[in-house]
């Protein structure tokens, strides 16, 4: 793997642009009385460029998977817009949505759960093509051969008749990647693609994704809770907390100095294999992430934050402060440094 010196792409085309995106889920009491909204994603804006990987890190319930699913069109958009290659998704008709979906590949977290157990490898790979109108048998064969070669499931003939349970975890995940690649997408959304895999297989899958990215100039949205893998894999890192993106940074800048106290805590909590760890305690905030139905006023991290500025953090939501040209944090600590 190349070292962390992956930098921001210059002057590249944005594949995906997201503006002030909200996804709220309505909660009903007794079936029809509206009890409130779960603000799973509460205002996210960014651009994803060709050939670039953005890592989205955060703990469970921070809205990272909601973001992915909203981009995929699985969740509805409550407010804001998504532009794919400068086309506003809200203007798309049914055919347009189908075309859009065929140009993003989705890699799920649990490969075994993502693969239908009653379909052979061949059928799993044919299915997206059937749905998206690639009917020519020769073309289908050619594509299957190509993707399986790319994900290194060889010899291909051995794998085609197999069912998912006959494959190991790593092979299953490679099949999921092959399925995501079969329609030749422009963008991949990888939702915790390696968290269910063993350490040694993890590296193999990440390297495979990286090779695919280089060959096809793919834009990748890499969603993970594991900070330690992102440095090997992405140009930019976004940290999310309580439905908000709280820090945006190039990987290099973030690794030097995380700005937001929450990101710093994530950093502190990540253990590198080192015998010295035995002697030190981790300085991490206690408490739990906030309820997204009734989020705290002001910054959502303020009840757990040690650097809280009373009267400000608990009153007003901090905007994004761009401390450097490649590093921003939504935190009042940086209001004078932007």
């Amino acid at each position: 793997m190349p070292s962390l010196a992956k930098t921001l792409p210059q002057e590249q085309k944005a594949v995906l642009r997201i503006e002030d995106l909200h996804t709220w889920f309505e909660v009903r009491r007794m079936g029809f009385f509206k009890a409130g909204d779960v603000r799973a994603l509460d205002g996210a804006s960014f651009e994803l460029y060709e050939g670039e990987t953005i890592s989205i890190v955060g703990e469970s319930g921070c809205g990272k998977s909601t973001l992915a699913k909203t981009i995929l069109g699985i969740n509805h958009i409550s407010k804001g817009s998504i532009f794919f290659e400068d086309q506003d998704l809200s203007t798309l008709d049914k055919e347009g949505w189908k075309r859009y979906r065929s140009s993003i590949g989705y890699i799920q977290q649990d490969p075994y759960g993502a693969l239908p157990p009653f379909m052979s490898v061949q059928r799993i790979l044919e299915e997206p093509m059937k749905i998206n109108g690639i009917k020519d048998k020769a073309e289908q064969k050619k594509r299957i051969r190509q993707v399986l070669e790319e994900v290194k499931l060889a010899p291909i003939e051995d794998y085609l008749p197999k069912f998912p349970h006959m494959l190991s975890g790593g092979q299953q995940q490679r099949l999921v990647i092959a399925r995501a690649m079969i329609l030749d997408p422009k963008m991949l959304i990888a939702d915790e693609p390696v968290s269910m895999l063993d350490a040694s297989v993890r590296v193999e899958i990440l390297q495979l994704l990286q090779a695919l990215q280089r060959r096809h100039n793919l834009a990748i949205l890499y969603i993970t809770h594991d900070l330690s893998t992102v440095r090997y894999f992405s140009e930019r890192i976004f940290a999310m907390y309580g439905g908000k993106i709280i820090e945006k940074s190039s990987t290099v800048a973030l690794l030097q100095q995380p700005l937001h106290p929450y990101t710093a805590a994530l950093f502190e909590a990540t253990s590198d294999p080192d015998a010295e760890n035995l002697t030190t305690f981790k300085d991490v905030p206690a408490g739990e992430p906030p309820s997204l139905m009734n989020p705290p006023r002001g910054c959502r991290f303020h009840p757990r934050c040690r650097k809280i500025i009373k009267g400000l953090c608990d009153q007003e939501m901090p905007p994004e402060f761009w401390v450097r040209k490649d590093h921003a944090a939504a935190c009042w600590l940086y209001k004078d440094k932007a």
């Binding site: 350490a199 040694s200 909590a269 590198d272 035995l278 981790k282």
Partner: protein, 328 residues
């Protein structure tokens, strides 16, 4: 702590499961010694026998056992000689407690935490309800939970809190050894770090001996005095953590370490090509040989266990007693 006495001495432990295809050699000839007050981290990939080892020590066995042999000396007593009833009465939970994998989800949702936590004390320690309640409140404080949470139901606690409640349950009977099976892998990063802090505190204050089973080598370093690496049912390396993290000996341990991504340090990640062998008909020689870069002709025989001073014990033909690499 190095002059502590040996609490657990496992010799030639074997645990084979009977299946239609033949016996599965889940734990094959494992020997190690663990000193009182130390923590042993057992690491390895899924299916390498980590959990089976824990089950073998606790004698929590399924019915399809074909072989269960070896000796386990616990606190000087040969507990393999105990019959099941004796073992249950005298060892399990009183002396060796366990926190099984995903056990935070095994709390009964309709019973208050307190009533669940005092149960083992009533059964194993024959305490009165009052005594048990007081004891549980004590350990609740040890794991850093507010005592009034005892009156809550499991769903009113977050994952991290439930996990700590389970650990409190294991500590309540004041066991000498606690086996933790993946205690933090279902938790979020910050809860994980908090839990590790709690375990570290317990380790220092109460001097409990832990066996920590995990696939996360980074997190293991938070607690481990010793590290045992398992591969395909064998314990291929048993090393002092102090040396292991900088200088692992067995080629598999080295590869495993090279595949662990690090946050603070930039390194080239490697992966191990191929897959672990089937445990039904494992290769006769070294089980890692097929994937090993340093393989040579001797590897077709099962390697001896080589002691490299007090640093490590390795099952690999590359080493002799002086720690010299014989075939570079």
């Amino acid at each position: 702590m190095s002059d502590q006495k040996v609490l657990l001495d496992v010799q030639n432990l074997k645990l084979y499961f009977r299946t239609q295809a033949g016996p599965v050699q889940a734990v094959d000839d494992v020997s190690f010694q663990l000193k009182a007050g130390h923590t042993l981290a057992v690491v390895g990939e899924s299916g390498c026998g980590k959990t089976s080892l824990a089950k073998a020590i606790l004698r929590l066995l399924p019915r399809n056992i074909s072989t269960y042999t070896g000796s386990i000396l616990f606190d000087g007593k040969d507990i393999m000689k105990y019959d099941d009833d004796e073992f249950r009465r005298e060892i399990r939970w009183c002396e060796i407690a366990s926190v099984p994998q995903a056990s935070m989800n095994s709390l009964n949702p309709v019973v208050r935490i307190e009533d669940q936590l005092i149960e083992p004390l009533l059964i194993h320690e024959k305490m009165s309800k009052q005594q048990a309640r007081a004891r549980v409140a004590e350990v609740f404080e040890v794991v850093g939970l507010p005592v009034d949470f005892l009156q809550r139901y499991p769903f009113e606690l977050s994952g991290g809190m439930r996990q700590r409640a389970i650990i409190a349950m294991a500590l309540a009977s004041d066991p000498k050894l606690v086996v933790l099976d993946e205690p933090s892998s279902a938790l979020d990063l910050l809860s994980q770090a908090n839990l590790m802090n709690v375990l570290k505190k317990i380790k220092h204050e109460i001097n409990t001996t832990f066996i920590l089973i995990t696939h996360d080598i980074g997190t293991a370093s938070e607690l481990a005095d010793e590290v045992a690496v398992m591969y395909a049912g064998k314990m291929v390396e048993y090393a002092s953590a102090q040396y292991f993290y900088t200088d692992a000996h067995h080629p598999y341990s080295q590869k495993l370490m090279a595949s662990v991504p690090t946050l603070r340090e930039d390194k080239e990640l490697e992966f191990i090509p191929g897959q672990p062998p089937s445990l039904i008909n494992p290769p006769t020689g070294c089980r890692f040989a097929a994937r090993c870069e340093k393989k040579f002709d001797k590897c077709s025989m099962q390697p001896n266990t080589t002691h490299l001073g007090n640093r490590a014990t390795v099952q690999c033909w590359l080493f002799d007693e002086t720690g010299e690499v014989k075939h570079a």
